[in-house]
Every structure is written in C-alpha cells, then in structure tokens.
C-alpha cells in the first residue's frame, strides 16, 4: 500500500539488468542512491517471480530507462536435465525466446523516447548495417565482404595480404562433452593457411586485416566520448583480438582523445541509431588512420572507466538523474 502511493507520487529511473556479475549496474545504482534519485532495478531473474502482467512497470511511473542486460541465468530449476542431446539446443532456444517474449514487452509499454537507447534497434543490431552506416558518415572501415567460395578468398588475397574471418553476429562459447569451453576468436586467413579452407562454405564475413598500432575503445554517453587506447604488448596472443586477455602481460589501457572529426562522425552514427550510450571499437593503423569496427550498445564500460579514472558509473548516474529531474519538473 505504502509502496503504491510512493509510486504514484514520483517517477523513477528503470534499470533493466541482471542479478549477478553486474558490478557496473551495482555501482550506478549506488551513485543514484547517493544522489537520492529513486530507481527501480529490474533484473531478468525477477520475471520468474511475476504473478501477473500487472507486475510490469507502468509507463507513467518511469522517467527514464537504462537497458543494460536481460538476464544472467534462468533459475537452475529450469535448466535442462539431459545434457548434450540434439533437442537440447532447440529447447534452450525455445526458453530464451519465451523469456524474450515477455521481457521485450517493456519495449512497447514504456515510451520509446524514455529509453537511453532505442531497445528495439539495440536488440536487433546488425553488424554489417552499422559498418555501412559508419562508412556513409565518412568513417573509414576495413574492407569488408561476405563470401561463400575459396576462389573469392583467393581473389581478395591478391588485394589484401591477410584477411580475418569474423562472425556476422556474436562470438559464442562452445562446450564439448567434457564441458571444456571454447571461445570463438577472430581467425586470420593468408596464403599459408588457405589450403585448410573448403571450396565452398557457409556465408562468412571477411575483413581486410589492418596492421594496427593500437585499438581504441570509446564509450559514448550523452553526446560525449570517453576513450581509451589499448596497446597490446609485444605479445602474439593478443595481437588479433584484445579480448584474448593475457594476465601476465596485460595490455596497456590509457586515456585517449579521439580527433574531433572522428568524434563528430561517430556521434552522427550514434544519433542515427538512436543510441544515447554505447561502446565503440576502433583501430588505428601505423599511419594514424582510424578504422571503425563496431558498436556495442550495452557495452561493459567498467573496463574503460577504471583504467582511465573516468568515473563513468557516476556520469551514467548523473545522466539518468538529469532525466529524472527533467521529468519531475514537467510533471509538477
């Protein structure tokens, strides 16, 4: 009862996240606490407790939405008993779709302009489309093609000494019968390993391999960029993809200022996608040229915030509280 009245009286920030392994969300929530901005953190896990559709947050109670994550894990009682059966994957997929069917109802019940990022675009982001968009706005992208035959790869290798193969969607983790996990990584194709390639294959995205000097991860928030350069140390293991972390000799991660014209073009891409926030990956080659790689709208910004001392969790809370104060003003 008391809760209901409070809800009617003030609008809140809605944070969609997960219950576990979310130090970034935890920190943003604690900053909001500190600023005394009311918020509702809805973890995907909470949906398993809903008794009725009435539990869904109502549009009029929400000032702004930050959509960070869906769910970490379904409650263990819904995990499938017999592992590694052929239908297992289908069933898992079915449960995920069922969950998403409920979760994404929020995208429609809460006004689209209250969302920091347009949730529908975010959930249906297409990597190729984003690359084309970046190119359209004047950003350089690595030469990108989708191919199905070895002969096409041979032809491309005449123009580019090396190519990389990347998923069009997301990298996945695969498990074998012994539960050993394998992470999908970026693979390099060149004249010396071409013989291992079949003549015809599933449509695959290939990109020109840029000789990089360093990578840049730029976190975008409310029009501003907080960028970090990533220097992979003379270390073969991390050369192609800095996500292949090396504990012994970690990459150097330091604050970076992107040139104004690169920022301007990136800003346009973000606006076009209706994203108020996101992580952008770029690469810089030996001559200092910038290559746009991808946008990750739900980017984990802790990995930029801490090494550069940017206080992005605090800045995120400030952006959300601005939205809250604005809403409060117009409703008084």
């Amino acid at each position: 009862m008391g809760n209901k009245i409070a809800l009617l009286m003030s609008r809140k920030i809605l944070i969609l996240s997960q219950a576990y392994l979310e130090t970034t969300t935890d920190a943003v929530c604690q900053w909001l606490d500190y600023y005394q901005v009311p918020f509702l953190r809805l973890n995907g896990e909470d949906l398993f407790q809903w008794e009725s559709l009435d539990a869904i947050p109502q549009n009029e109670d929400i000032a702004a939405v930050w959509y960070r994550r869906k769910v970490f894990q379904f409650p263990s009682k819904y995990s499938l008993k017999k592992e590694h059966t052929p239908t297992n994957y289908t069933l898992k997929r079915f449960l995920i779709d069922e969950f998403n069917g409920l979760h994404s109802l929020l995208f429609h019940t809460i006004d689209r302009q209250k969302w920091l990022n347009d949730p529908v675009i975010e959930d249906n982001l297409n990597k190729l489309h984003v690359l084309m968009l970046a190119k359209e706005y004047g950003l350089q992208i690595p030469f990108t093609e989708v191919v199905t035959r070895k002969t096409s790869v041979v032809a491309l290798l005449e123009q580019h000494p090396e190519l990389i193969v990347k998923p069009l969607g997301e990298c996945i983790m695969v498990e074998d019968e012994n539960d050993t996990k394998f992470k999908m990584l970026t693979v390099v194709v060149n004249a010396s390993n071409l013989h291992r390639m079949p003549d015809q294959f599933f449509p695959s995205m290939v990109q020109e391999k840029v000789e990089k000097k360093y990578e840049v991860r730029a976190f975008y928030l409310d029009g501003a960029f907080y960028s970090m350069a990533i220097f992979s140390q003379n270390n073969q293991k991390t050369k192609d993809d800095f996500r292949n972390y090396d504990q012994e000799r970690p990459n150097r991660t330091v604050p970076y200022q992107l040139p104004a014209d690169v920022e301007g073009k990136l800003r346009k891409v973000m606006q076009e996608l209706h994203f108020g926030t996101g992580s952008i990956d770029l690469m810089v080659d030996r001559h200092g040229a910038y290559y746009f790689l991808e946008v990750n709208p739900a980017g984990q910004f802790g990995m930029v915030s801490f090494p550069c001392n940017y206080y992005l969790e605090k800045k995120m809370a400030q952006v959300l509280s601005k939205a809250y104060l604005y809403e409060k003003e117009i409703h008084q």
Partner: protein, 357 residues
C-alpha cells in the same frame, strides 16, 4: 628520423628531495630511481630523444639510453616517430558514492551492535569493514555481527583475530563459506609469521607474530604497506589517505574518525549518524594531503604511502610527519623509528613506550 619516448599516463613520476619514484599504477609496481633519471624522463615528455641527448650532453648518452631501455623493457612506454598527443593525461579525480567508505570496528563482546546507528551507517553503501578483535572471541559470538551485513551492499570484511589454538583453518573456512564478504583474515600474536590461503585460495589468512591488542598498534609506516594503484594515487592528490571518509566504532562504542584519534563524536547508542556526518570536526583532517605534510611533501613515496594523523612526530602540529615512519627522503635511509632520539617525547605523549621492547 627523430625518435620520441611515449610514457603511458598510468606510469607516473613522483619527485622527491633526493630520489624519485616511477609508479606503474596499472601493474601495481614502483621503481625507486635517481633524480637524474627523473629529469631525463621528464624532459623526454616534451622533446625527442635526440634533443634530450643534445640537452644533457653526449657524455650522458649511454645513461639516457639505459633509462629509455628500462622504460621500454618494463612496458611503461614505447618509442615512436612522434609524441602521440592523443594520449592524454589521466585526470586524477577522486570521489565515492558514499560519505563513509570504510569502517573500523573494535569489537567488544559486551556491546550490542544491532542498533540504529550501525544500521543507518551500512545503509550508506559502505564498501569495507574491518572488525578488530583484540581479545579472544568465540567465533559463534562474532558471527551474528558478520551476518548483520548480509542485506547491505558492503563488499569486503576483514577480520582481525587474536591467535587461538582451538580455532582451525577449517573453522575459518566455514566462516568464509557462509560469509563470502570476508575477504581476508589476520591472526595476531601468532607463534610464527605465515600466510595461508583458504576458500579455493581466494582468502588469505595472515598470521602475525606481533600482538594487535590496542589501537596504538596502528599507524606504522613501512615500505611493505606501499601500494601503487589508481585508487590510492588519486585519493592522495586531494585527500588524507588515512582519514578521508573513514569512520570507526571504538572498543567502548564511541564514534571516531579513526580509533586512535582523540576526538570522539558520542556513543553509537546515543547519537544520530546524520549529526555525526554533519559535524565539521569529523572532516577536520580529511583534506590534509601528503603534499601538505612536513617531510612527506618532499618524499618520493608520498602517493604510494598511506598517512597517519593519529600519531605525529610533533603532536601539536597537525601538519607534522607520521611518528611511526623511519624513512628520511633527505638521506633515503630507513631507521627504526622508535629508536630515534627526536621521537621520544612524542612517544611519551601518546603513551607508546610500552609497545616497544
């Protein structure tokens, strides 16, 4: 071709009276370097390697090359055909989402901690709690206190317990399993100094041969406590690294900035947290930086060292150097602080004589 040394922004040079420190804040290392090396590295932040050699003289080329080699070998920088202007300096801002980040509690079995003050305090998203037990305690008496914080956002609990032959590593493991917030355990007055790991090697149990039987055991400055990291380095630029946003509940239940400080702010059963936090006296020392403190301001360790404002070399001078530091930045020598004849009067003032043999 001109060559330049780019030093990463998280590798910071700190100049001292006689020597300097190169702090690798990312890899948590630091290197004691001569001031000459400091001068050269500082110069290289603006000039090419060729200019640097011209500036310091051909005679010094070998030395300069060796300094550069050192930085590159330790991966604290790289050589390029220019100084990359996009590699901007770090803004060493410091802030936290709570008015109190750390709490020290001197545990007293006769007190009841399930009160409003403690509840309010931990609602503030306090990050770390240290529970100090000077005297033998029964674990099952202590546990309710540890469990009191289960619904709070507290992240880390450190337990300090006296050595007790009847408590096994297994018992401690049980405590940690039930309370994963307990991230480290110190056992004082133990037969020998050793470090053991429990809970899949994630929690250290450190046995100390010396007793910690009163707050007067605190405040020791030693190079083994130095830390080269972003949190301490940035806080040290603006605030006191011992007292800023800290609060303690002393053995008798009185609220203090730190258990060793003379000033108290009332008893936890009697005062309101909000009133304590509003009291300007609580924050009196929070803004005293290492750069403001005598001697420390000339010390190359000042941003990797934590301060102590409770025991001072000159008790009446709030800007005086910590009493329990034996280092001199002017001679670069470490002495046993308690044997220093100049410190005897201050030791008497704080009643610290009995501590040292």
């Amino acid at each position: 071709m001109m060559e330049f040394l780019n030093i990463y922004a998280n590798c910071q040079l700190v100049h001292g009276a006689n020597m300097s420190l190169l702090c690798d804040l990312q890899l948590h290392k630091f290197y004691h370097i001569p001031n000459d090396t400091f001068e050269v590295l500082q110069y290289l932040k603006q000039h090419s390697i060729q200019d640097c050699i011209a500036h310091f003289g051909e005679d010094n080329q070998e030395a300069i090359d060796s300094y550069i080699h050192f930085v590159v070998k330790k991966e604290m920088g790289f050589i390029d055909d220019r100084l990359l202007e996009q590699l901007i300096p770090i803004d060493f801002q410091w802030d936290r989402f709570t008015p109190v980040t750390n709490v020290i509690l001197e545990y007293n079995e006769r007190l009841n901690y399930a009160n409003k003050f403690v509840g309010d305090l931990f609602d503030l998203n306090v990050q770390a709690l240290e529970i100090r037990c000077y005297h033998t305690v029964q674990l099952d008496h202590l546990l309710p206190l540890v469990e009191m914080f289960n619904d709070k956002t507290l992240r880390v609990i450190k337990l300090i317990l006296p050595y007790d032959g009847s408590i096994s590593l297994n018992d401690l493991e049980t405590v940690v399993k039930k309370n994963p917030r307990v991230k480290s355990i110190w056992i004082h007055d133990a037969p020998e100094h050793k470090v053991e790991k429990i809970f899949n090697d994630t929690v250290a149990v450190v046995s100390l041969a010396r007793p910690i039987n009163a707050c007067t055991a605190c405040g020791e400055i030693s190079s083994s406590y130095f830390q080269s990291n972003m949190e301490l380095f940035s806080e040290s630029q603006h605030y006191n690294t011992c007292l800023n946003r800290k609060l303690s509940i002393d053995y008798n239940g009185y609220i203090r900035n730190c258990p060793s400080m003379e000033q108290h702010f009332g008893h936890m059963e009697e005062v309101e947290l909000s009133a304590v936090l509003k009291d300007p006296l609580l924050k009196e020392y929070w803004g005293i930086r290492k750069d403001d403190i005598d001697t420390c301001r000339d010390c190359e360790f000042r941003h990797v060292c934590t301060d102590c404002r409770a025991y001072l070399e000159e008790p009446e001078n709030r800007y005086s150097k910590p009493l329990k530091c034996g280092y001199s930045p002017y001679t670069n020598e470490w002495d046993v602080w308690s044997e220093n004849p100049l410190k005897q009067a201050a030791m008497d003032h704080y009643g610290l004589r009995s501590l040292v043999k």
